[in-house]
Protein backbone atom coordinates (compact mmCIF):
# COMPACT_ATOMS: atom_id res chain seq x y z
CA UNK A 1 0.00 0.00 0.00
CA UNK A 2 1.06 3.54 -0.78
CA UNK A 3 -0.16 6.48 1.25
CA UNK A 4 -1.18 9.56 -0.74
CA UNK A 5 -1.56 12.96 0.95
CA UNK A 6 -3.13 16.05 -0.59
CA UNK A 7 -1.56 19.25 0.66
CA UNK A 8 -2.76 22.80 1.18
CA UNK A 9 -5.94 23.89 -0.57
CA UNK A 10 -6.83 20.50 -2.08
CA UNK A 11 -8.60 19.74 1.17
CA UNK A 12 -8.90 16.00 0.71
CA UNK A 13 -8.07 13.38 3.33
CA UNK A 14 -5.11 11.04 2.77
CA UNK A 15 -5.84 7.78 0.99
CA UNK A 16 -4.10 4.41 0.87
CA UNK A 17 -3.94 2.77 -2.52
CA UNK A 18 -2.36 -0.22 -4.24
CA UNK A 19 -0.02 1.18 -6.89
CA UNK A 20 3.31 -0.21 -8.09
CA UNK A 21 4.33 2.90 -9.98
CA UNK A 22 3.45 6.56 -10.44
CA UNK A 23 1.82 5.62 -13.73
CA UNK A 24 -0.60 3.36 -11.90
CA UNK A 25 -1.20 5.98 -9.27
CA UNK A 26 -2.00 8.52 -11.98
CA UNK A 27 -4.73 6.27 -13.35
CA UNK A 28 -6.21 5.75 -9.93
CA UNK A 29 -6.25 9.43 -8.98
CA UNK A 30 -7.73 10.50 -12.30
CA UNK A 31 -10.86 8.52 -11.50
CA UNK A 32 -11.68 11.18 -8.91
CA UNK A 33 -13.19 14.12 -10.82
CA UNK A 34 -12.80 16.51 -7.90
CA UNK A 35 -9.04 15.96 -8.07
CA UNK A 36 -8.60 16.67 -11.77
CA UNK A 37 -8.24 20.47 -11.57
CA UNK A 38 -5.54 19.98 -8.93
CA UNK A 39 -3.64 17.28 -10.82
CA UNK A 40 -3.19 19.70 -13.73
CA UNK A 41 -1.03 22.07 -11.74
CA UNK A 42 0.24 20.03 -8.79
CA UNK A 43 3.70 18.63 -8.31
CA UNK A 44 4.40 15.22 -6.81
CA UNK A 45 6.84 14.10 -4.15
CA UNK A 46 7.68 10.51 -3.26
CA UNK A 47 8.94 10.18 0.29
CA UNK A 48 9.27 13.98 0.38
CA UNK A 49 11.43 14.23 -2.75
CA UNK A 50 9.92 15.97 -5.76
CA UNK A 51 9.81 13.75 -8.84
CA UNK A 52 9.60 15.16 -12.34
CA UNK A 53 8.64 12.20 -14.46
CA UNK A 54 6.39 9.20 -14.20
CA UNK A 55 9.05 6.48 -14.43
CA UNK A 56 9.11 5.94 -10.70
CA UNK A 57 8.39 2.60 -9.04
CA UNK A 58 6.46 2.67 -5.79
CA UNK A 59 6.90 0.12 -3.06
CA UNK A 60 4.90 -0.86 -0.04
CA UNK A 61 5.00 1.93 2.58
CA UNK A 62 6.01 4.73 0.20
CA UNK A 63 4.44 8.12 0.85
CA UNK A 64 3.29 10.27 -2.03
CA UNK A 65 2.32 13.92 -1.53
CA UNK A 66 0.46 16.06 -4.04
CA UNK A 67 1.63 19.70 -3.91
CA UNK A 68 -0.51 22.42 -5.48
CA UNK A 69 1.07 25.73 -6.59
CA UNK A 70 2.83 27.48 -3.71
CA UNK A 71 2.97 31.02 -2.43
CA UNK A 72 4.80 31.66 0.82
CA UNK A 73 5.60 34.97 2.47
Amino acid sequence: MVKVEFLGPIGKKPVEVEAGSLKELKEILNKDDSLKPWLENSAVAVNDKIVQDLDVELKNGDRVVILPPVCGG
Binding site: G8, P9, L67, V70
Partner: protein
Protein backbone atom coordinates in the same frame (compact mmCIF):
# COMPACT_ATOMS: atom_id res chain seq x y z
CA UNK B 1 15.46 24.59 10.75
CA UNK B 2 12.81 27.10 9.79
CA UNK B 3 11.25 28.72 12.86
CA UNK B 4 7.50 28.30 12.72
CA UNK B 5 4.95 30.47 14.52
CA UNK B 6 1.19 30.11 14.84
CA UNK B 7 -0.16 33.47 13.65
CA UNK B 8 1.95 36.61 13.24
CA UNK B 9 5.69 36.34 13.86
CA UNK B 10 7.10 38.22 16.90
CA UNK B 11 9.32 40.24 14.58
CA UNK B 12 11.29 42.33 17.00
CA UNK B 13 12.16 39.66 19.53
CA UNK B 14 13.11 37.23 16.75
CA UNK B 15 15.36 39.85 15.11
CA UNK B 16 16.88 40.63 18.49
CA UNK B 17 17.66 36.98 19.13
CA UNK B 18 19.29 36.55 15.71
CA UNK B 19 21.22 39.81 16.03
CA UNK B 20 22.57 38.98 19.48
CA UNK B 21 23.45 35.45 18.36
CA UNK B 22 25.43 36.54 15.30
CA UNK B 23 26.78 40.03 15.93
CA UNK B 24 30.12 38.82 17.28
CA UNK B 25 30.68 36.18 14.62
CA UNK B 26 32.49 38.53 12.25
CA UNK B 27 29.60 39.43 9.97
CA UNK B 28 29.62 43.05 8.84
CA UNK B 29 26.13 43.07 7.37
CA UNK B 30 22.81 41.75 8.61
CA UNK B 31 20.02 42.21 6.08
CA UNK B 32 16.58 41.11 7.24
CA UNK B 33 13.48 40.87 5.12
CA UNK B 34 10.15 41.45 6.85
CA UNK B 35 7.04 40.45 4.94
CA UNK B 36 4.09 42.41 6.29
CA UNK B 37 0.47 41.55 5.45
CA UNK B 38 -0.94 44.41 3.36
CA UNK B 39 -4.61 45.48 3.36
CA UNK B 40 -5.11 44.50 -0.30
CA UNK B 41 -8.51 43.74 -1.87
CA UNK B 42 -10.27 44.31 1.42
CA UNK B 43 -8.74 41.26 3.08
CA UNK B 44 -8.69 40.95 6.87
CA UNK B 45 -5.48 39.00 6.70
CA UNK B 46 -3.80 35.99 5.16
CA UNK B 47 -3.72 32.39 6.25
CA UNK B 48 -1.07 29.77 5.57
CA UNK B 49 -0.65 26.02 5.38
CA UNK B 50 2.82 24.63 5.25
CA UNK B 51 4.37 21.22 4.80
CA UNK B 52 7.17 21.18 7.32
CA UNK B 53 9.20 18.11 6.26
CA UNK B 54 9.81 19.50 2.77
CA UNK B 55 10.09 23.09 3.99
CA UNK B 56 13.00 22.13 6.25
CA UNK B 57 14.53 20.03 3.48
CA UNK B 58 14.29 22.99 1.08
CA UNK B 59 15.86 25.30 3.68
CA UNK B 60 18.84 22.98 4.22
CA UNK B 61 20.59 24.05 1.05
CA UNK B 62 20.60 27.62 2.37
CA UNK B 63 22.20 26.60 5.65
CA UNK B 64 25.50 25.40 4.29
CA UNK B 65 26.70 28.48 2.48
CA UNK B 66 30.36 29.28 2.96
CA UNK B 67 30.10 33.03 3.09
CA UNK B 68 26.62 33.63 4.46
CA UNK B 69 24.35 32.61 7.29
CA UNK B 70 20.61 32.70 6.77
CA UNK B 71 17.86 32.62 9.41
CA UNK B 72 14.19 32.26 8.61
CA UNK B 73 10.78 32.24 10.31
CA UNK B 74 7.30 31.71 8.85
CA UNK B 75 3.74 31.70 10.13
CA UNK B 76 1.03 29.12 9.82
CA UNK B 77 -2.65 29.79 10.35
CA UNK B 78 -4.09 33.28 10.30
CA UNK B 79 -1.99 36.45 10.12
CA UNK B 80 -3.85 39.75 10.26
CA UNK B 81 -3.17 42.91 8.25
CA UNK B 82 -0.14 44.73 9.70
CA UNK B 83 1.31 41.52 11.13
CA UNK B 84 4.31 39.69 9.67
CA UNK B 85 4.11 36.22 8.13
CA UNK B 86 7.62 35.86 6.74
CA UNK B 87 10.89 36.96 8.31
CA UNK B 88 14.44 36.15 7.32
CA UNK B 89 17.90 37.63 7.78
CA UNK B 90 21.09 37.19 5.81
CA UNK B 91 24.45 37.65 7.55
CA UNK B 92 27.56 38.23 5.43
CA UNK B 93 30.97 39.75 5.87
CA UNK B 94 30.38 42.41 3.22
CA UNK B 95 27.22 44.09 2.05
CA UNK B 96 27.34 43.08 -1.62
CA UNK B 97 27.14 39.32 -0.98
CA UNK B 98 24.35 40.15 1.43
CA UNK B 99 22.22 41.88 -1.20
CA UNK B 100 22.84 39.02 -3.63
CA UNK B 101 22.01 36.23 -1.18
CA UNK B 102 18.94 37.97 0.19
CA UNK B 103 17.44 38.37 -3.25
CA UNK B 104 18.32 34.85 -4.38
CA UNK B 105 17.02 33.36 -1.17
CA UNK B 106 13.71 35.21 -1.16
CA UNK B 107 13.06 34.44 -4.84
CA UNK B 108 13.83 30.75 -4.29
CA UNK B 109 11.57 30.81 -1.24
CA UNK B 110 8.69 32.31 -3.21
CA UNK B 111 9.09 29.77 -6.01
CA UNK B 112 9.82 26.60 -4.08
CA UNK B 113 8.92 26.63 -0.40
CA UNK B 114 5.93 24.31 0.20
CA UNK B 115 3.59 26.92 1.65
CA UNK B 116 0.04 27.77 0.61
CA UNK B 117 -1.50 31.18 1.05
CA UNK B 118 -5.15 32.08 1.51
CA UNK B 119 -6.87 35.45 1.66
CA UNK B 120 -9.03 35.92 4.74
CA UNK B 121 -12.28 37.55 3.68
CA UNK B 122 -15.31 37.64 5.98
CA UNK B 123 -13.54 35.11 8.13
CA UNK B 124 -13.20 32.63 5.25
CA UNK B 125 -10.03 31.23 3.72
CA UNK B 126 -9.83 31.68 -0.05
CA UNK B 127 -6.85 30.08 -1.79
CA UNK B 128 -4.67 32.78 -3.41
CA UNK B 129 -4.52 30.89 -6.71
CA UNK B 130 -3.59 33.92 -8.82
CA UNK B 131 -0.42 34.48 -6.79
CA UNK B 132 0.64 30.82 -6.55
CA UNK B 133 3.47 29.22 -8.54
CA UNK B 134 3.66 25.69 -9.86
CA UNK B 135 6.43 23.55 -8.46
CA UNK B 136 8.85 21.64 -10.73
CA UNK B 137 7.17 18.75 -12.48
CA UNK B 138 3.70 20.14 -11.87
CA UNK B 139 1.04 18.36 -13.87
CA UNK B 140 2.77 15.00 -14.34
CA UNK B 141 -0.19 13.15 -12.86
CA UNK B 142 -2.62 14.91 -15.17
Amino acid sequence: MVEIFKGGIPVIETLERWYEECKLEGYGAMIPFIGIVRPDNGIEGLSFDLYLPMLNEWFKKWQNLKEAKIMMAHSFGDVMVGETSFLCAVFTKHRREGFKYLEEFVEDFKANAPIWKYDLINGKRIFAKDRAKKLPGAGILN
